[in-house]
């Protein structure tokens, strides 16, 4: 380690390093720089982090099942990334704001997003499921990288208002290649914005290995843009929590942005529409299964004298209840009203759209008049049919 690894504030930046506080087998590794940031995490708190992870994993499985059963149109599983998401999101304050991509169900869970709110988008009933301002988390972003600029702008605004709230931008390894992400780093550095760039390097961007985006640790990007980069074991919830707390603390103290690379793995397919056997091996999967974020926490708790089997059972039962709730919430999500397609295009009256809506109302009415059975009043559907 050399002195230039410390930035002006004395923060250790470790772009090539790999911060790990809990090994895959559950040993606690001491780290003088990071330990102070999680000194409050006693076994109870660690148990709560385990609970979060176990529940979101269970919800993820349930959502995948719902998709397979036709209740959801699509689902992007988070399995494998629980520690990265829970560890980071549990570092946030209520008045902070998360700007995520599409896979951050664990972050959404921490922000209090409810089961129906979570699934609305994936059921295809609405373009978003929750009110961002009630939850402190933006609507999910599918355009890769775009949200990193939104997080940066939000954070710039926060400082201009004199607030010490901070934003976290969540994005993937693939996203680092989009120009928007680099531009976000530039704006954040220039305006010293209180934003944490939280990159979940899950090794893959659909079928593309991270090596296609960068031949070296992504955390090294940070320095070139003038901010510290921390590379952390993304499957170690404690290390992630510590790193994110460090970064948020810097942000609040007016020291600007931080880049965190959480090295993790997507155990499932990219989405339920993906077939990962086309591009990666069973051996690779096995290797990463050995680095599971949950088992190591159980092992550590067991070591610390907790009845981990009991905890596991208890949480599993709770997770099953949450999954059942998710399922029923999903099925209960009502189909949207046809005319709602015209809602919220504009805030203010818009003559063109109003006319178009009026015409469509009349069009739908022709079915009511001529065919009382046409449910919802719509035509025969996309592909046409009997008239």
């Amino acid at each position: 380690m050399n002195p230039s690894d410390r930035d002006a504030t004395g923060l250790l930046t470790r772009p090539d390093d790999f911060v790990q506080l809990v090994t895959p087998t559950g040993e606690r590794r001491a780290d003088a720089d990071f330990d102070p940031w999680v000194s409050d995490v006693d076994t109870a708190a660690l148990g709560r982090l385990y609970r979060d992870m176990a529940i979101v994993r269970r919800l993820d499985t349930e959502a995948t099942a719902l998709q397979r059963q036709g209740e959801l149109g699509l689902w992007p599983p988070l399995a494998g990334q629980e520690a990265a998401q829970i560890g980071s999101a549990r570092a946030m304050r209520d008045d902070d704001f998360a700007f995520t991509s599409y896979r951050e169900h664990g972050v959404a869970w921490c922000r209090g997003v409810g089961p129906a709110e979570l699934l609305t988008v994936w059921r295809g009933t609405a373009a978003s499921g929750w009110n961002p301002f009630e939850r402190g988390i933006a609507v999910p972003q599918i355009i890769i990288g775009a949200q990193t600029l939104h997080a940066t702008g939000w954070a710039m605004g926060a400082t201009w208002e004199g607030s010490d709230a901070a934003a976290i931008a969540y994005f993937g390894d693939g996203a680092t290649s989009e120009g928007d992400v680099s531009e976000a780093l530039i704006f954040a550095a220039s305006f010293n914005a209180p934003v944490v760039f939280f990159c979940q390097n899950n090794q893959w961007a659909i079928s593309e290995p991270v090596g296609l985006q960068s031949k070296q640790p992504l955390a090294r990007r940070a320095d070139g843009f003038g901010m510290p980069g921390i590379r952390v074991d993304g499957n170690d919830v404690l290390a992630v929590l510590a790193a994110t707390r460090i970064a948020l603390d810097r942000a609040r103290r007016g020291e600007g942005p931080t880049f965190i690379e959480a090295v993790t793995y997507r155990l499932g397919p990219h989405t339920t529409a993906d077939d990962p056997t086309r591009y990666r091996t069973e051996a690779e999967l096995d290797e990463w299964r050995g680095r599971d974020p949950l088992t190591r926490v159980l092992a550590l708790l067991e070591d610390s004298g907790v009845d981990s089997a009991g905890l596991e059972r208890e949480v599993a039962a709770e997770a099953d209840r949450a999954a059942a709730e998710l399922r029923s919430a999903c099925i209960a999500i009502a189909d949207p009203e046809p005319l709602s397609v015209f809602d919220h295009v504009y805030v203010e009256p818009n003559s063109h759209l109003e006319r178009q809506r009026t015409h469509y109302v009349r069009y739908l009415a022709t079915f009511e008049e001529t065919d009382a059975t046409a449910a919802g009043g719509a035509g025969a559907g996309t592909e046409g049919g009997a008239r």
Binding site: F97, F99, A126, A127, S128, N131, P132, F133, A138, V139, I143, A146, T148, L149, H150, A151, T152, G153, W154, A155, M156, G157, A158, W160, E161, A167, G179, D180, E183, A184, I186, F187, S190, D343, H344, V345, Y346, V347, E348, N350, S351, H352, L353
Partner: protein
Amino acid sequence: MTTLTLAKSLNAGLRRALADDEKVVLIGEDIGTLGGVFRVTDGLKAEFGPTRVVDSPLSESGIVGTAVGLAYRGFRPVIEIQFDGFIYPAFDQIVSQVAKLHYRSRGTVRLPITIRVPFGGGIGAAEHHSESPEAYFAHTAGLRVIACSNPADAFIMIRQAIASDDPVVFFEPKRRYHVKGEVDEQASLADARPMGVATVVTPGDDVTLVTYGALVQTARDAAIAAEEDGVSIEVIDLRSLAPVDYATVEASVRRTGRLVITHEAGQQGGVGAELAASITERCFEFLEAAPVRVTGHDIPYPPAKLERHQLPDLDRILDGVDRSLGRPNSLSGVEA
């Protein structure tokens, strides 16, 4: 009333908006210390400080993307895109975020973002400095698109755009920045003509001539010239390109039976195409002739020494009017 150039009138409008609402922030390249390459924001940074009038890094996607984040935080960002041709790097943030996020968030997120764009040719500039990209935005649901043509409108419309809770792409006719006009700096928004409404700038009976931005002046000149020829042209300044104020255009066309549209942008899929199609739908029985379009050619904007061959001018407009009236014109005798 004060006599102001169009640029100074925008400056006055921006100053007022900054003074009236502390959530209004201006962001763009060179808008602070320099006051913008056209000086539209001259003096505003000195007056309101560097967190209200913000010189941004050189990246348009970054400017628009951070504006979206600022809107999430409750700000009303006013962006300057330095020249029309530099808006394209921000296209994704405009089309996928600014235009769609209110819808995508089911109405929870508002995007009161104004994107100011000096547009059009006629100033002898280098490439990418004379574009007319308005049709791209008029085709994008979720945006409002307006264009001012004179100092009085500029002062009001820029404030209306900023006050609007919808995102507005605001086109400024850069070759008219130095045109002077009377501006009522006391004018209140409450009394002002809504920004979505078109204006009949020259009443007339024989042909309806619709345009916007820099060509409004040219169209008025054409109406004067035609007058001498005994042709009465009604000139309409569209002002709003999306949505279009069809009530005003329709009323005119029902009277004249003839429609000529002129804009600098290319013809294929330009704003004139929509206008011609919509007016034909709405006024088919009243039309004496097919709507005529007098536009730039469908070519990349040519070098400065050739731009007069690209830009519709008085003669080309009058030739279009003649086509509409069935008087001798450049296409007389040509099979349509």
